[in-house]
Amino acid sequence: MKKRLDGLIWIGLGISLLMALFLSPYTSSFPDGLEKVAEMKGFKDKGKGWTFWRHAPLRDYAIPWIRNEKVSKAVSGLIGTLAIFLIVFGVGKWMSKPRTKRTQPDRINPPDPDRRLK
């Protein structure tokens, strides 16, 4: 019953990358919910100038050396989407590694006959 996933993964990743590349530059630049509330209620500047992490390479979804704002955002979105895919893939691989002894039959993941075919 379990079908192959390869094609689907690429389609999903492709859609995400296209979204990041072509939609993200044209989105609303209004402040988001929390920023707006902070602005309205006067605590927007609280903690300003104090940032714990100063080494974010793509600060505010922009690439420092690309002047064109839209291109900058699109490329940073593309990099971010690819990076998050690889990171979660890697962490997922690490997480799904069996760490307990699997001597007794696994009741949660019964052996999948299709798995060999992949």
Binding site: M1, K36, G47, F85, S96
Partner: protein, 230 residues
């Protein structure tokens, strides 16, 4: 609603970090028990989609914008614990790579959007889905309502943390946060319902929580299908 550095007190951040870290550790354990090779790329793609979708701000009333959160989306597809892990990793990358949300507030952001949004949102989803007797229509009602609630509950938690940090009094910040995010929640509900229904049409086996409505005589099969939900 990525909280930047400085909005919350260190005490609140530390407490939220402790809760989030505990939840994530337990989540890793649960995911480890359940996931095999098949689900790992699916997790990666879900996270990539959420990241890309979170970049797309849609305007709402009054010069404010909102964006997709994806907590209920990932929980319904892969289970609440994988949902929590995905949201946590997305938030960590946004914080470290894009300066979106402060590093000291990362624990609070994971608490609001992961623990409250993904786990809490999933709880509401399951509650409504069961109340609707797992009907097809009930699935989408539960999806829309829980997606809305995930955003509003996360905003409520943020407001309470801001008030407890002494940033703004609760009577001021809570109604505004909830009011603004009630609108953003509608967008969340629309995007979540639309994308899950597209996935359900093309590959129903990928929606972990969905139980196909089938006649009662095949109850054994139905019970088997519901086991897919974590």
């Amino acid at each position: 609603m990525h909280i930047p550095d400085g909005f919350l007190s260190h005490g609140i951040n530390a407490a939220a970090f402790a809760i989030s870290a505990g939840a994530c550790a337990y989540g890793v354990k649960r995911v480890n028990q359940k996931f095999g090779e098949r689900e790992v790329p699916l997790m990666g793609v879900t996270a990539a989609f959420i990241f890309a979708a979170q970049m797309i701000n849609f305007p709402i009333a009054g010069g404010t914008s909102g964006h997709f959160l994806g907590a209920v989306f990932s929980s319904v597809l892969l289970g609440p614990w994988a949902g929590l892990i995905i949201i946590t990793l997305v938030l960590a990358v946004q914080c470290l790579g894009f300066a979106d949300g402060g590093l000291t507030a990362l624990g609070s952001n994971v608490f609001n959007m992961g623990v409250i949004g993904a786990l809490g949102g999933y709880g509401i989803f399951i509650l409504i889905y069961h109340l609707c007797r797992k009907s097809h229509k009930g699935f989408f009602v539960a999806l829309a309502v829980s997606a809305w609630f995930s955003v509003v509950m996360a905003a409520t938690a943020t407001a309470i943390e801001l008030a407890m940090s002494g940033t703004s009094p609760l009577v001021v910040v809570l109604p505004t946060m909830v009011g603004v995010h009630a609108f953003i929640g509608i967008g969340e509900a629309v995007i979540t319902t639309t994308s899950v229904s597209i996935i359900l049409k093309t590959r129903p086996d990928l929606v972990g929580c969905y139980v196909p409505p089938i006649p009662c005589k095949e109850k054994g099969q139905r019970a088997d299908a519901s086991r897919g939900a974590l």
